[in-house]
Each structure stands twice: as structure tokens, then as C-alpha cells.
Amino acid sequence: MGKEESNGGKNYTGYDDRFSTYVWNSETRQFFGRTGLAWAKLTIFYTIFYIGLAAFAGLCYFLFSKTLTEEHPRWMLGDSLIGTNPGMGYRPMPDPDTNAGSTLIWYTLGKRSDAKFWYRQLDEYVTGVEQSVYNSDVLSCERDMKATNEKSCRVEVSQFGNVCTKANKFGYESGDPCILLKLNRIFGWEPECYGINENGQYDKKLLDDDLNEAEGMPSSLKTYIFSNVNSISDDAKRANFLSTIWITCNGEAKPDQENLGTFAYFPSNRQGISGKYFPYHKQPGYQSPFIFVQLKNPMRDVLINVECKAWAKNIIHDRINRLGSVRFEILIDS
């Protein structure tokens, strides 16, 4: 650039012949073409100008912020860009500071510190959930109780049984890691579950139709739902069971599926998230519902792509944009 300037100076007699003269002209006592006084004036002007401009913008934003409430976002669901199709999240995640773009859960079996990095995240997460017991704003939803716009349901840690627990180090040390899966919170979103009509009642025919129409749903899930529904005698209980966002996991491609062992889902009585936790309305103390999926004895030393999907009538899967699903990799070195 310096060269350019000096060239320009040659052709342009109008500009000071030498750049150094322009920087400091001792004759006119000008610094970059202006005297100290001129610079001072200019500085004062621009200070006032920018303060004024910032104040104007601030005023605009202040007036705008009056149209916002703390209770809910200005736009929700379809009006908002978040849309009506929730994505999914998983825990544990790689370190955001060193591996922001990665979704790989990678540790060496038998290396304590390695595994600890991962299960500690789940520890913390579960502990946070357990704290809500002390929050009186949170209902402990028994039976058919459901979250309201004001109060949310408590997520009972006990329902996950004794496999994916702190005590068990969430299976990481034994090489059968538990992965926490949850559905993205979308303000006011409620699932439309399979087999339940508008009145919230079980409808057998509807269930058959819904499951037939559910594109790509693994047959194992269908079998699981049918066998459970059939084993329940009471329609209300069936409705309660069916009021679920089902969750399945699988290897992304054929080799992944072969390398993976079996999956275990917790809570064991419901392979998914109960509908009672919805809608999310920024209720005080709201806890995201979640399930654990345990990868039982996946192939060692092989990177396995795992894809988990949430199933409900109003969840559309989009693999590229990760809608209605989540994807992560696991690599356990022996």
C-alpha cells in the first residue's frame, strides 16, 4: 500500500508530494492535513454526533422493547422462524471450546479421566433436574395430569431406573454409554401423538392408520407400540401410554448398524417422552423432559454414526437440516 501511495503522490500533485509531509507538516503545523484545533473540533463534533445517533437508535430500541414481554417471544411457532418442527439435542457433547464443530463422543475405555469428561456432563444435567424437586412451581404430574400454561411437570429422575445413573457412571466406564436425548423446546408446541384423537382419547383405527402413514418408522417401534397397547386393558391408560413422542436410535448407514450392539431405552416403560410435559410456556422451573438411550457394547475402535429420531404426527424428519432428529458419533477405543 505504501508503494501505491507514493505512486499516487507522484501523479497527483494535489496531494501532498510526500506522505510524511501529509502526516506532519511542520510549516502549517498540520497533522494528517489538519491542525490540532481542527482535529479537536472534529473530534468534539463526531463525539456529539455519535452520542446523538446512539441515543436515537437507543430510543428506537427502547420504544421497540416496550412491545416485547418477558413471558413469551413476540413471534411463536409458525410465526417465528423456529417453526413447528422441533429438533433434538443430545448429551454429553464435545468441548465447545476445542471442538465446536464436532459431535463425536470419543474416549478410551479404562481411562478414567477420559470417560469422566463425558459422564460428568450427564451428572450435572441430572443433578440440575433433581433440584427441581424443591421447586414448588413445578407439579409432580401423577397419572393423567398435564402441564398447564403456568405450571410444568417435574421430570422424575427415578423413572430412568438404575442403569443410567450417577452411581453407574452412566455406563461409560463399562463401555455401554448412556446418551441423553431430548426434544428442542419450542414455545407453545404440543405433540400430536399417534392413535389419539382430538379429544385426547385412544382410537384404535386411528392408531393403525397413523402408524401405517408414519413414513420410515422402524417396525420394531411399531411392534413395541402395538404390543404395549394390546397389553393395556383400559383405554384411558392406553391414551396415557400413547401420549408419547417416540424416540428411536439406529446406525446411520448399514455398517454403523452392524457395528452397533443393541439399544436400551430408559424409562423402560415408555420408549419416548411423555406428552404431559408439553406445552413449553416458559413456566417457572421448567425442565426439559428427556430419555436415555444406552448403547450396549458397541464395536470398539470403530467410529459409529448414530441417528436418533423423534416420532409424532407433527414431527417431520429432515436429515440434512437435522429436524426431528439428532445425529452423533461414538468412538470407544479399547
Partner: protein
């Protein structure tokens, strides 16, 4: 970015030294001498033939004589010369002032082979130019003069040397061989730059290099990411690099193609001028006369030249009968010259008489070819606007590189990866470079060029459009530009009084003296109206014949009418046509009044006529011509001469019946009828009057602070008279000589400071040193250069340029072409201009009218102002494009404005509004202010940058950021949440990023939101640019005063908005350009800021108007 100083410019300086000091025979001498009136056969200093007596073969030596403007300055187009219109030249009436006694010499008979060329030393260019490999040598060669003896050797020797034969001509075989050896007899067209070089220039000029760098960076990033991160789960990011790289490269390619196309288009305009009418020449070959294409002429051919032909090459005349040739195109002389031994050039129309000659040079080796070659080798000066653009480009590139490097360093220091930092660098470059601006400027210039073409200013290079606006000095040719190039009668002297001739009616038609004068004027002349012009008004009828006679005829037809009928009634019995030896013309008529005596009428050089007279008619009464009358005559003659007019004397006589009856046997060799005593009837003076619009135009130039200088090859008195008439010398100002005359002292005693005007003769100029010239150019406000040679014109132009002036030159002849080329803007004449001058010029006045130049100046100034507005407008949103990047890096917020959106603004919505500013009318004072000072009034000033970047640009940035934050907040991300969120936000691994309301966003939805914000930012800029466009209309006055008459601008706002809507709402834009549909009221977010911009700028202009010269104006008026 700035071009290296043209090597040839330096060269020309060195070579001009050669000019100035050249005493060797050659072009310089040729011109100078010929400008003395001795024609091409001028003598060399020190050569024995220098003395006047030696000019005896030129009976009409035009020593320091008064010679008046004459027709045929410049090279007439073929049609004109063939048609033999009223402009055709005629033998010159030499009209020396009474106080400079005419040199009368006898001349041998006219029809005679010219073999005595010893005395008629023609100074010539080399007959065969040495073809040097090196351009410099060629230049030197062109400027040097080599002597040739082709004109001095005996004619037989010449024939022998050329291996030709006057009776047989060349044989076909010889001609073919010679043609093969020396090529076609045509001027080599100037070397054309190959098309691909032109195209490459467009691809590499301006901001292109920076853009290429950006594109290269994109491709590198793509390659790096593919090579090292191919196992990364998401490969979308590298796709973006690829995409962006391709977009950037296409932008450069397309804008390069565009400007290349524009240039090619304006080049094509020129091609239309090169209409090639095949010409033929009569050539003696194999002993037979045959018609041959002029291009096939070869050295040694014997050619016949006839009335109205162009002389096809440099020839040596071997036989002649009253041959006169218009050499004005070479010499600036406005009159055809009598020619005997003659070397003239290709395309020279030659006027009267017939002749035969032998070709001694063809094509580029002709005299004209050499001048054309010289002109085409002078480097074109860089136009002011291209200097401005270069400057602007380097400033903006500098800013872009500065910001780019600064933030590259900052981002690396902040811990961003190299790849990220490189991405930032690309973004900053793209944001800083106004991609569409250069194309916009081209379009603005093209629009103005089109507008100017409608007003008869045809611009050859787009960049020359503005040059007239920067012009500080106009060096104008006289003939044809300032004057009508048509002789007309301006004064008559009879009854002892000077009468000025205007429209019909101010002369007493019954005055017997006038009748006598009119009778002579009507009868003694050969000019006649062309047939078939009954419907045409007198003033516009075309006339066949010499210009002076045509003027007389036209005057008589207007004043009295029915000249043809009058002539028919008084049958012509005998005549002696004008020749330069006796300098008069006589005819003898039957005159059907009561008196049966024949009437002899005579006109000619006044002193010649007076000599023959004994009596003078006074109020119808014949009186003895006393000394008193002679004094009166002298006085009138001198007065008219001082007015720069050509004066003709008229007398008549009744021939005694005893000797001369209608049956008298008239004989050319018997001139006994001249022995009578004649009666003097009066004087008629002629002038080539200035064009009507010229005085106004000159005044406009003056008001506009432009110095108008006349540079002519014509006589000083004529030049001065016209200069006074058109206002180049204003009424109050006197030259040194005039002051001397007024005070009755000699010129040396006059205080030179008193004189504000100067008339400088070519001879004086020749003696000048460079310092002298500088002093003269500085000192006098009003200068007329007379009797100048082409080299002197060049010197004058260079002199002005040395003082930092921007010089416009007008001219039409081949001799003007070096000056035209050297000038900042050369203006050639479309009608009378020679092809060579048109080739050398930057602009062509289609109507040859000086007043059109004023239009050009006004348009040039307007376009400069408008370009300034246009640049201001376009630069403003640069800062609004840059700020998002800076905040993105520094605050780690999601990117508020994407790179593609920036390109949408720069190449989409901004373009038409910026162009519409070219249609903006001028702020009233355009032609009242001084020309811009190229050192101070830049296209892009620091005030402009400060105001557009620092103030309005910042307002736009605030508007955009406001829209960004509003949309983010409405969707759930309050500003506080956004700070520092970038890493998670931009990581696809985070499929559940929480917002301020606890909602969790997938990567996909976040990006949708980000793109929506970017679109809103884009729309905010569009909205702010509405206001910005409106405030750009004026720089000083209120918008309300200026009004909203620019409908193109109104359309541009609508167009811009529509385009933004299309970009926003067309399905598929989300993937193609990452543009998202916006809720309607998001468009309104920027409105408060747009209003603020408008009000703020009105306020600024109000303060500037109220406090002119204040600190505020200094800093904020751009």
C-alpha cells in the same frame, strides 16, 4: 492502479526541443514559410531565393500583406470539392496595405513546364522515410526534416530516376512491381490495440485485482477445507467458499465484459466516420490515360489533376494551367495557393486549373502521411476523469486493504482460526469495494455522451465526456469554428463613406454611385448560382465559384436581386479572368442604356485598380481623382484592412466607340482596351463573419472562468478583428501595438503591464524561449496567436499544460492533429474536419460550431457534479456493509449481513439509483463558477469520504443493526443473549441452542433466522438509500428548492424497491441468495433512520448555506 507515466510524453518533450531549434529545412520550415504566404515554395533562410525579388515566379508574393479569411480552410470533404460549391476557392486578390508597397513582379507565362526549380526550393519531408525498427527513431525521424532533391533536380533527371516517361507513363508491370514494393497509397491506420489486450485491461483494472484476490482467497479456503477437513461431518461450509469464489469471479468477469462492451460501442461510433469512398485518379500508363484507384498509385506515375479533384499523392507538377491548390489542411492557410512546382498530399482537394505531375511519394511517405504519423504517435494525455477514477480506486482499495489486514490481525489475535480470519478478510474486501460503481460510472458517462451527441458533440472516448468540464483553456481555431467559413460582404466604400452592409435596406438603392458600383459588382464575376434552387432563400443558395465572387453575388442578389437576368441583358463580350500577376479581372459588356459604348468593368486589388483610374464617381458625378481623394481612399482602405477584411477595388470605363464595337475582334493577347482611363467606383470589403452564436458562447466561457485563446494560421489583423468581434479580446482591452498607436509612441515605450491582450505572430513565437512563452501565457488574459505552424500549436498547448491548465483544442486540418492529440481534449470539426484530425481528436463537433463546445463544457461540469453525487451515494452504504462484519468479529454475534447480500446491494439495488443521478439537472451556478481546480476539487474528497462513511453511512449502519436486533429479539434472541454466541451459533453440532425465552433452536432454524436478519439489514439499507438518493440530488441547495423533476430518479426508487421485493419474496431465493421473506412491517424498521438522514442532511445544507466559508462548510461540504 495508477498507470506509469506515459513514456512517450517524455519523449515528446525532448522532441519538441528539436522543433524549436530546428533551423534545418523541413516540415517546420515548410509550415512557417508557407504561413508567410509564399506557399510551399518558400525560401530557406540564407538561401539566395529568400529575397522578395526572387519570388518573381510568384507574381503574387504575399509579403506581409493583408490577407483575409478565405474559404476552404480545412480539408473539404470529397463531396464538397466535387460539387464545386460556393466555398470553392478563387485566385487570391492580394491586398497589401497602402503603407506597405506591393511588390510587383512580372511573371512569365503561366503555361510552362517548370524546370527551374533551383529557385523554388521546396522543403520537403524525406521522400522515402527510413523505416526504423524502434519507435523512438521513427518519432525522431518524423520530427526531423530531411531534404530531398526531387523538386530541384532537372525534370528529366527526375523521370530517369523514377524510371518513368512523361509521354508514356509507367508500364503496368512497373506499376505492379512498385506497388508490391511500397504498398498501397493510403495512410496506415493507427495501430490498434488487440481486442484481447483491451479486454484484459478491463479484467485487471479498477477494483478487479482486489476482487480476484478475494476470489482466490475463497478458492484457497475451499481447497484447504477440503484437504484438511474432509472427514468433518458437515461440508456445507466449503461449498459456501466455492460459491462465493465463483460469484466474485463472475462479478469481475461480467463488469469487465460490460465496460469492454461500452468501450467497443463508442469505438464503433468512430468507425462510421471512416466511410471510404473509392477515389480514382487519371493516370498515364502504357501511354494511355486510365482511371486508377487512388490507392494503386505508385511513385513515378504521371497523373492529371483537374478542377475539384483531390491530389492523390505527393506529386511534382510538371505542367500547369492556373493550378491552385488548397493546402490549408497542411498549413492552416485559408486560401488556395497558386501552384507550380508542387508537392502535395493525399486527399488534397485542389481547386482551380488543371495540371499534370509526377508522383514522388505515396501513402505514409507523403507530407500528410508524416504529420498523421506524428500525431498518432503522440501519447494521448490521460483524461482528468480517469485520473480521478484512478485516484478514487486507489483510495478505496487502500481503505479496503487497510481494514482487511487490520481485522485479519485482530481476528487472529482474538483467537479465530486462520480459516475464519481469511473468511473475514474476504467479507471485508467485498464490503469495502463498491463492485458496481465503475460500471455505474461508465453508464453515466455513456448517457452523457449520448446526450451530448444529440447536441452535436460526439465523444469518441467515454472518459472525454467530462474533460470539457475541467477545461480551463480553449485554444480555438478561427476559420470554420469561430467564423462561418463563408465570405460575405461587410462594407462598401463609395461617395467617400464607409457603409456597412447588413440586411437589405440600409443603402440608398437610387444612389447613382451605388448603382455604378453594383453594376460592376454584378457583371464582373464568374460565380453563378447552381441550378435548381428557386425555392432556396438567397442566403442559403449554393454558388459555383470562388468565395469572394460568391460573396459578391450573394450580396447583390440580396440587395438588388435578379443578378442572372441582369447579366443576361448585358452580354459579356470578352473577359480576362483573374490571375495573380495582374491581380485584376476585367470583362467587357454590351450595355443597353442610351449610350452605345461598350462597358468595361474591372475589379481587383484596390491599389491596382486605383492606379488605372483618373476619375472617381461621386454622387453620380465624375470627378478628377485628386490627391485628396487618394488620401481618402488610403484611409478607407486602411480602416477596412484593420478590420481584418479583404478589400476589393472596383472601376469601370466606357470604351471609345471608334475602336471597340460589338464586332471588335477580341483577342487574349491584345489588351489594348486597358489603355483607357478608368473611373473608380468604390471598394467592397469582405470578411468571413463570425458565427452568430459565437460571441455568446465566448462570453459563457468567460463567465465560466475559461480562457479562450485563438490559435490560427491566418493573418494577425484578420485574427484580431475576429477576436474582437467574438469577444476573445474584450472591448476595453488593448494590445501593446494598439496602445502605442493610441498614444502615438513606439511599441517599445508602452508599459507592457497596461496591455491585457496580445496578438502574437508565429515569427515572434518562433523566437520565444520556453520562459518567454510561459510569461506570455501567464500575463495576458486574452491572447491571439496568428500565423502559427502545427508545431507551434503543439508548443502552445504544451505551454499551457505545463502551467497545469487543462487545454481543449479545436481544429480541423491535418496540421492541427498533433495539437489535437496533445490537448487534454481535442475537438475536431465534423463537417470540415479532415479524417486525420478526427482520428486525433477526442471529440467531434458535428455542426462545426464553437457554441457546441459550451454545451460540452456544461455537460462535462454537470457530469462531474453528478458523478460526485453518484460516488457519494454508492460509497455511503459501504460503511453499512462493513460495520456488520466488525461487530461480528468484535462482539461475536451472528453475522448481521451476509456477503451475498452485500453483492445484492452493490450490484443490484444501488446501480439504477446511482445511474439516475446522472440525469440530475445542474445546480444553477454550473456555468458561473470557475473550472474546478484539479488539485483541490477532486471527485472524491476527504469531505465526501468523511461524510458518507462517517455520518450517513453510520446512520445506515445503525438502521441495519436496529432491524437486526429487532428481528432477533422478536424471535427470541434478545441482544444480551447474542453477545459472544457466535461459536455455538455457527456450529452445526449445536442442534439445540437456547434463546432468551428458553426455546431451543436447531442449526437450520438459526441460520434461517440469521438470513432473515441479513435480509432485513439489506432492506434497511434499501430504505435508507431512498433518503440518501434524495439528499444526493443536491449538495448545497435544499431538496425542496431543487424539486423532484428527475423522473428517472423517482423510477429508480421504485425500481430499487421492486428489486428488493423480488430478491426477498421470490421462492428459491432462500437457497440461491440466502434472502428470506420478511414480514411487511419489518420494512418500516429503517424508516425512522431514513427520516433522520433526510432531516439531518437538510440541516447540514442549511448550515452550509447560512455560514459560507465556515469551519462547518470546510469539513462537511463535499
Amino acid at each position: 492502479m495508477s498507470r506509469p507515466p506515459p513514456p512517450l510524453a517524455r519523449l515528446s518533450k525532448r522532441n519538441s526541443y528539436i522543433f524549436e531549434n530546428s533551423q534545418v529545412p523541413g516540415i517546420v520550415q515548410l509550415f512557417r514559410q508557407s504561413s508567410h504566404g509564399s506557399g510551399l515554395v518558400a525560401a530557406q533562410p540564407g538561401h539566395p531565393t529568400t529575397t522578395a525579388a526572387h519570388s518573381r515566379s510568384y507574381g503574387s508574393i504575399r509579403s506581409p500583406s493583408l490577407h483575409s479569411p478565405a474559404p476552404g480552410s480545412g480539408l473539404w470533404s470529397m463531396e464538397a470539392s466535387y460539387s464545386g460549391s460556393g466555398r470553392l476557392g478563387k485566385p487570391k486578390f492580394a491586398t497589401p496595405l497602402p503603407f506597405t508597397p506591393p511588390v510587383m513582379v512580372e511573371k512569365e507565362g503561366e503555361r510552362q513546364p517548370l524546370l527551374r526549380s533551383e529557385e523554388e526550393r521546396v522543403v520537403l519531408p524525406p521522400a522515402v522515410a527510413k523505416v526504423e525498427d524502434e519507435e523512438t527513431n521513427l518519432m525522431d525521424d518524423l520530427r526531423k526534416e530531411l531534404d530531398t532533391d526531387m523538386h530541384t533536380i532537372g525534370i528529366q533527371e527526375l523521370y530517369d530516376r523514377l524510371r518513368t516517361n512523361p509521354a508514356m507513363g509507367l508500364t503496368d508491370a512497373q506499376a505492379a512491381a512498385e506497388l508490391k514494393k511500397s504498398g498501397l497509397n493510403a495512410l496506415t491506420p493507427p495501430e490498434e490495440t488487440p481486442e484481447w489486450v483491451k479486454f484484459a485491461r478491463h479484467l485487471l483494472g479498477g477494483f478487479s485485482l482486489l476482487m480476484w484476490f478475494g476470489a482466490a482467497l475463497c478458492f484457497t479456503a475451499f481447497a484447504v477445507q477440503n484437504a484438511y477437513m474432509s472427514d468433518a461431518p458437515y461440508d456445507y461450509a466449503s461449498d459456501i467458499f466455492m460459491y462465493l469464489g465463483i460469484v466474485l469471479a463472475s462479478v469481475v468477469l461480467i463488469s469487465g465484459l460490460f465496460s469492454y462492451y461500452q468501450e467497443a460501442k463508442s469505438d464503433r461510433i468512430m468507425d462510421s466516420f471512416k466511410k471510404l469512398v473509392p477515389q480514382t485518379a487519371q493516370v498515364l500508363r502504357n501511354g494511355e490515360l486510365s482511371c486508377v484507384d487512388v490507392t494503386d498509385l505508385v511513385v513515378g506515375d504521371i497523373v492529371n489533376v483537374e478542377f475539384g479533384n483531390r491530389i492523390p499523392a505527393d506529386i511534382r507538377i510538371t505542367e500547369t494551367q492556373g493550378l491552385k491548390v488548397d493546402n490549408s489542411s497542411l498549413t492552416g492557410e485559408s486560401e488556395p495557393l497558386p501552384r507550380q512546382a508542387l508537392y502535395t498530399c493525399l486527399n488534397f482537394p485542389y481547386y482551380i486549373g488543371t495540371g499534370r505531375g509526377v508522383v514522388i511519394a505515396t501513402g505514409d511517405r507523403t507530407l500528410m502521411g508524416r504529420i498523421a504519423g506524428l500525431a498518432s504517435r503522440l501519447e494521448n494525455t490521460e483524461t482528468p476523469i480517469s485520473k480521478e477514477m484512478d485516484h478514487f480506486v486507489s483510495v478505496i482499495s487502500g481503505v479496503a486493504v487497510f481494514f482487511g489486514v487490520l481485522f485479519f490481525v485482530i481476528s487472529v489475535a482474538m483467537g479465530y482460526s486462520w480459516l475464519d480470519s481469511a473468511v473475514f478478510l474476504i467479507g471485508i474486501i467485498v464490503a469495502n469495494v463498491p463492485e458496481g460503481l465503475l460500471a455505474t460510472v461508465t453508464v453515466c458517462l455513456a448517457l452523457t455522451a449520448k446526450r451530448m451527441a444529440l447536441k452535436n458533440c460526439l465523444v469518441k472516448h467515454l472518459e472525454a465526456v467530462e474533460t470539457l468540464g475541467s477545461t480551463t483553456v480553449i485554444c480555438s481555431d478561427k476559420t470554420g469554428t469561430l467564423t462561418q467559413n463563408r465570405m460575405s460582404v461587410s462594407h462598401m466604400w463609395f461617395n467617400g463613406e464607409i457603409q456597412s452592409i447588413g440586411a437589405k435596406g440600409n443603402i440608398n438603392m437610387d444612389d447613382p454611385t451605388f448603382i455604378a458600383l453594383a453594376t460592376v459588382a454584378r457583371l464582373c464575376g464568374r460565380a453563378r448560382f447552381k441550378v435548381g434552387q428557386v425555392e432556396v432563400a438567397n442566403a442559403f443558395k449554393e454558388i459555383e465559384g470562388d468565395a469572394s465572387e460568391a460573396a459578391l453575388l450573394r450580396c447583390m442578389e440580396t440587395q438588388i436581386g435578379n443578378v442572372e437576368l441582369f447579366r443576361a441583358r448585358h452580354k459579356k463580350l470578352h473577359e480576362i479572368p483573374f490571375n495573380s500577376t495582374n491581380k485584376f479581372q476585367v470583362s467587357i459588356h454590351q450595355y443597353d442604356d442610351k449610350d452605345p459604348r461598350l462597358l468595361l468593368v474591372m475589379k481587383g486589388a484596390p491599389e491596382q485598380i486605383l492606379q488605372r483610374c483618373d476619375t472617381i464617381i461621386m454622387n453620380g458625378v465624375e470627378e478628377q481623382l485628386t490627391d485628396e481623394w487618394c488620401k481618402k481612399f488610403d484611409k478607407a482602405y486602411k480602416t477596412l484592412g484593420n478590420m481584418g477584411e479583404r478589400v476589393l477595388g472596383f472601376c469601370d470605363c466606357r470604351l471609345p466607340l471608334d475602336k471597340f464595337t460589338s464586332h471588335y475582334k477580341w483577342d487574349h493577347d491584345n489588351t489594348e482596351f486597358l489603355e483607357n482611363n478608368f473611373r473608380f467606383v468604390g471598394l467592397i470589403s469582405l470578411i468571413d463573419p463570425p458565427r452568430e452564436s459565437v460571441p455568446d458562447a465566448v462570453r459563457s466561457c468567460r463567465t465560466a472562468g475559461i480562457k479562450v485563446v485563438m490559435v490560427t494560421g491566418d493573418h494577425p489583423l484578420t485574427a484580431k478583428a475576429i477576436a474582437r468581434e467574438v469577444g476573445i479580446i474584450s472591448p476595453g482591452n488593448m494590445t501593446v501595438d494598439e496602445i502605442a498607436e493610441r498614444d502615438g509612441v513606439s511599441a517599445n515605450e508602452v508599459d507592457p503591464r497596461e496591455a491585457k491582450a496580445a496578438v502574437i505572430h508565429g515569427d515572434e513565437l518562433q523566437e520565444f524561449t520556453a520562459e518567454d512563452l510561459d510569461r506570455v501565457l501567464m500575463k495576458y488574459k486574452e491572447i491571439v496567436f496568428a500565423r502559427t505552424s502545427p508545431q507551434q500549436k503543439l508548443t502552445i498547448v504544451e505551454g499551457f499544460q505545463k502551467q497545469g491548465e487543462c487545454v481543449a483544442v479545436t481544429g480541423d486540418g491535418v496540421n492541427d492533429s498533433p495539437a489535437l492529440k496533445k490537448a487534454d481534449i481535442g475537438v475536431a470539426m465534423g463537417i470540415s474536419g479532415s479524417d486525420v484530425s478526427k482520428e486525433a481528436a477526442d471529440m467531434i463537433l458535428l455542426d462545426d460550431n464553437f457554441a457546441s463546445i459550451v454545451t460540452g463544457i456544461e455537460e462535462g461540469r454537470l457530469i462531474f457534479d453528478n458523478l460526485k453525487k453518484c460516488v457519494y451515494y454508492t460509497l455511503t452504504d459501504n460503511i453499512a456493509e462493513l460495520i456488520p462484519f466488525l461487530l461480528f468479529i468484535l462482539l461475536r454475534i451472528p453475522l448481521p449481513l451476509g456477503t451475498i447480500s452485500i453483492l445484492c446491494i452493490d450490484l443490484g439495488t444501488d446501480v439504477i439509483p446511482a445511474i439516475s443521478l446522472a440525469y440530475e439537472k445542474g445546480e444553477l451556478d454550473l456555468m458561473k463558477r470557475a473550472p474546478r481546480d484539479p488539485n483541490k476539487d477532486k471527485l472524491v474528497t476527504k469531505q465526501l469520504i468523511a461524510y458518507s462513511y462517517g455520518q450517513i453511512g453510520m446512520m445506515q449502519s445503525f438502521a441495519g443493526m436496529f432491524a437486526y436486533f429487532v428481528i432477533m429479539a422478536q424471535n427470541g434472541y434478545l441482544p444480551g443473549r447474542l453477545l459472544g454466541i457466535r461459536k455455538e451459533w455457527d456450529s452445526p453440532a449445536y442442534n439445540d441452542l437456547e434463546d432468551s425465552y428458553g426455546q431451543e433452536w436447531t442449526y437450520y432454524n438459526r441460520k434461517q433466522l440469521e438470513n432473515t436478519c441479513s435480509t432485513a439489514y439489506f432492506v434497511s439499507i434499501v430504505v435508507c438509500q431512498w433518503a440518501n438518493l434524495i439528499i444526493s440530488k443536491t449538495r448545497r441547495s435544499s431538496v425542496f428548492k431543487k424539486g423532484f423533476g428527475n423522473h428517472v430518479l423517482s423510477f429508480a426508487i421504485i425500481f430499487e424497491t421492486a428489486l428488493a421485493c423480488i430478491l426477498c419474496y421470490t421462492p428459491g431465493m432462500a437457497t440461491a441468495l440466502k434472502m428470506m421473506p420478511l414480514k411487511a412491517w419489518w420494512w418500516l424498521l429503517a424508516v425512522p433512520f431514513a427520516v433522520l438522514i433526510f432531516v439531518y442532511d437538510e440541516l447540514r445544507r442549511l448550515i452550509i448555506r447560512c455560514y459560507p466559508g465556515s469551519w462547518f462548510e470546510d469539513e462537511f461540504y463535499y
